[in-house]
């Protein structure tokens, strides 16, 4: 009886799966690329990796696995539930989620590892966490190369550089599925109403020169942009990073783009911040220090965390903030009740001395990775679930949630339902690396859409990767090196606020070299050479 029921269930699932596939070819999918074959339901598909299109070639028993992940908000909404239901249905799997509190994810990860009872899939937030490397070293996290051969979508929609950074042992073994984040070099949100008040404009194309940038900050600070007759505004809403460290507010225009091929100096690859032969970093420090001294940067900067910086921009204290362009609409919503006439625009970047904008230093192309542990009996099934999420069938579901739940198709257009706003977990699993539409929510107004698309594509175009691929060399674990990081960060902050002269940087760098910096540079160089050489 039980068996019969199971059979029945499976066949129902299979049928609905086919139906699901065919309904998807109806052309309502905005992400369909003409160059890609639609994932049809034809059984004659010669693509063996696409599990959804060739289920009969696969082991299609119901497979249950546990997934240990960090999602926010902590509570699974109805929309998220139906997303996982859709994934389970399409892949004939059952996913048992374990979502620890995000505030203490690290502790839970540690205990889970110590407990020895590993879930099949584990999300690691950092690609070079010691706990992850320990797990790789001891065979708890397994390489997935052989399964990736059957995962064409994963391969197609992931940066090559991401795979490189997951080769932890220096050989070709890949130890995880990257949670891709579309690489961008983000620009700045600017108070357009303030610009208008002052009769200023941002050049066509969205990028400005350093001088123009400074002029905007100056005018926002000194010329009473909000017209209230009080000197209560500042230019730039800066914040310290998660660890409280400050840094130059502009780096890319000074040629500081992470690890790149060096034009001079003893090393083939260099992060110019550490170069004794280049004064780019000193220039960037000087620039920031100057703006700080003139008062164009929020005077609360050293103790301002990201959240506060955003708040202070929304309060109308500052007029420029470094931000991802996708959030402009949210800023407008939050600010309109206070400033009914608020208008925002976006500076896509600040040009370097050659008039070019390029930047971005996320070396890995992802934020966290999914690993598969030794307790997985069928790693291929797990990989195929991930692969499905990036397939033409799965991707719209990942991006917008399951059709009929978070959105409905009306007249060939996707219309968000109430649940759409509550859908977030699915969006934090995997991404296609080439689909900026991911960042344009269905609720975006028609007026905003083209602007957003333009800003996004500009930011994506100008992004370059740092060549270190997030590599953390052994030298970085040396206690002496870790200790010296504090001294260095402290010095940078003090130089910026004028407590130490910029010229101190040379001496700090010398010390850094002596305290493990030299080995650090050498090891990163060796790593880059070994990967680039391939």
């Amino acid at each position: 009886m039980k068996k019969l029921l199971a059979m029945l269930l499976i066949s129902v699932l299979m049928v609905s799966l086919f139906v699901g596939c065919s309904s998807n070819t109806s052309g309502s999918n905005p992400t369909d690329k003409p160059t890609q074959e639609p994932a049809g339901s034809s059984t004659g598909n010669d693509n063996p990796g696409d599990s959804s299109s060739a289920p009969e070639e696969q082991d299609n028993e119901l497979y249950t696995f546990k997934m240990f992940a960090n999602f926010t908000p902590a509570e699974q909404s109805e929309a998220d539930k139906s997303f996982f239901a859709a994934v389970e249905k399409a892949n004939n799997v059952k996913i048992e989620l374990e979502v620890p509190p995000a505030t203490n994810y690290a502790e839970r990860l540690q205990i889970m590892m110590a407990g020895g009872d590993y879930p099949e899939v584990v999300l690691f937030p950092g690609e070079r966490d010691k706990i992850l490397l320990d797990a790789v070293e001891n065979g708890v996290v397994i390489p997935i190369n052989q399964y990736l051969e059957n995962a064409p979508n994963l391969m197609q929609y992931t940066y090559n550089i991401s795979w490189d950074s997951l080769k932890f042992k220096g050989d070709d073994q890949i130890y995880g599925v990257p949670r891709t984040s579309i690489a961008r070099a983000d620009g700045y949100i600017v108070r357009k109403d303030w610009l208008d008040n002052l009769g200023m404009t941002i050049p066509e194309g969205g990028a400005v020169t350093k001088d123009e940038f400074v002029e905007i900050l100056r005018a926002f600070t000194e010329d009473d942009p909000d017209g209230n007759g009080i000197d209560d505004t500042y230019g730039f809403a800066a914040n310290s990073d998660a660890e409280g460290n400050m840094g130059p507010i502009l780096t890319w225009p000074f040629g500081l783009n992470g690890w790149q091929k060096a034009d001079k100096g003893p090393y083939e690859y260099m992060n110019l911040q550490f170069s004794k032969e280049h004064d780019n970093f000193k220039k960037a420090l000087e620039f920031t220090r100057d703006l700080w001294a003139k008062g164009y940067i929020d005077p609360d900067w050293p103790v301002t965390k990201r959240e506060t910086a955003i708040e202070r921009f929304k309060q109308g204290i500052n007029g420029v903030i470094g931000e991802f362009s996708g959030w402009v609409a949210q800023y407008i919503t939050d600010m309109t009740p206070i400033f009914p006439d608020v208008e925002l625009t976006y500076i896509t970047g600040v040009k370097d001395d050659n008039g070019k904008v390029e930047g971005g230093s996320f070396g890995t192309g992802f934020w966290g990775l999914w690993t598969i542990t030794s307790s997985a009996e069928k790693p291929e099934r797990i990989i195929s679930v991930f692969d499905w999420m990036l397939s033409d069938e799965g991707w719209p579901t990942v991006n917008y949630g399951p059709e009929g739940v978070t959105y409905n198709v009306e007249d060939g257009k996707m219309v968000a339902t109430d649940l759409y706003a509550k859908y977030s977990w699915g969006r934090a699993i995997l991404r296609r690396n080439n689909d900026p539409a991911f960042f344009i929510p269905l609720s975006t107004s028609e007026e905003m859409k083209p602007k957003l698309e333009k800003w996004l594509s500009t930011c994506i175009e100008q992004a370059i990767f740092s060549k270190d691929r997030g590599y953390r060399p052994p030298a970085a674990d040396d206690p002496v090196y870790i200790d010296y990081q504090k001294t260095m960060n402290q010095a940078i902050s003090k130089i910026i606020v004028g407590e130490r002269p910029v010229s101190d940087w040379d001496q700090i760098l010398d010390e850094w070299y002596k305290n493990g910096g030299e080995a650090y540079i050498q090891q990163v160089n060796d790593f880059i050479k070994s990967v680039e050489g391939q």
Binding site: T72, E75, T103, N104, G115, S181, F324, W327, W367
Partner: protein, 297 residues
């Protein structure tokens, strides 16, 4: 009592100074709470306009609606109430039972036991051995795991013991001569005389359980067994958490993940209000003169 304390001019001045000072201090201490309440019942833009407000701006209760729409809030309320009541009862019983013998000056082996307690106050084995222990006791994912590890606190035992040993020994000796056992003395003489300290330690323990979250982090997988304080931390610490987990990647800090201040403050109110109400009820146990009556009666 009043007639024995004559009202003099000096006494009146003294009163005015003390009443005034206390009012001033209380105003300072009340401020953050008023601010939190005012923000939680205002709309987000009123908060942005003046984050330090103590009067609400445009009234808006949607933050509370949001908090109560969460299915976790009710379950975590239930869990927190269970562990607080259960934990307080168990812990208070254990503390009294342990503190009483230790308050006896003549007790042999007392010094060794005290050393054991002091040592446990300063050193602990860390989270991993504790996790193994709870697992082998089969308490993972149960509310017992949130109650039992915290029942014994050296700090509370020392305070309780200190109070017990300040009680006049003549009382006990009289009872001993009548042939009463130590258990009887504890029940009939010591405990009734010690209501202030029992109320105090009870409050400490109770608040400790109410505020506990770390055991829940370590030992609970099922979100339905989360405690209130853990839920609160998830909401008010979210900005920090997000910043760390996104590694500075601005696009990955989403607006859903960081709720606005109004929601954070509303959650705070929902979490602390019940425990704030406990204290006024306990205050009657702090009334002076209890000892007098007891000794005479």
């Amino acid at each position: 009592m009043k007639k024995r304390r004559p009202v003099t001019a000096g006494s009146v001045v003294f009163d005015i100074i003390i009443y005034g000072l206390l009012a001033l201090i209380a105003a300072c201490m009340l401020y953050p709470f008023l601010n939190v309440i005012a923000v939680s019942i205002s709309d987000y833009s009123s908060y942005l306009k003046n984050p330090l407000r103590i009067l609400p701006g445009k009234l808006d209760f949607s933050a509370f609606e949001y908090v109560f729409s969460s299915s976790l809030i009710l379950s975590s309320y239930r869990n927190t109430i269970i562990i607080t009541i259960g934990g307080t009862l168990i812990s208070l019983t254990l503390t009294i039972l342990t503190a009483y013998p230790l308050s006896k000056k003549h007790l042999k082996g007392k010094r060794a036991i005290m050393n054991l307690f002091i040592f446990s106050m300063l050193f602990s084995g860390g989270i991993i051995p504790s996790f193994y222990l709870i697992r082998s006791l089969k308490l993972l994912d149960t509310l017992w795991a949130l109650i039992l590890p915290g029942t014994i606190s050296a700090y509370n035992i020392i305070l309780m013991k200190n109070f017990f040993s300040s009680l006049p020994e003549s009382l006990e000796e009289a009872a001993k001569i009548d042939g009463a056992s130590d258990l009887y003395i504890l029940r009939k003489i010591i405990i009734p005389l010690s209501t202030p300290i029992i109320a105090t330690i009870g409050l400490f323990v109770c608040v400790g359980y109410w505020n506990s979250y770390f055991s829940a982090v370590l030992y609970i997988r099922d979100q339905q067994k989360w405690t209130l304080q853990l839920l609160l931390r998830e909401i008010i610490m979210s900005a920090n958490t997000q910043l760390l987990s996104s590694g500075g990647n601005l696009a990955e800090i989403s607006k859903d993940a960081i709720p606005p201040q109004t929601i954070k403050y509303a959650t705070l109110i929902v979490v602390v209000l019940p425990i704030l109400c406990v204290y006024p009820f306990l205050q009657k146990y702090f009334v002076k003169g209890m000892m007098l009556g007891a000794v005479k009666g």
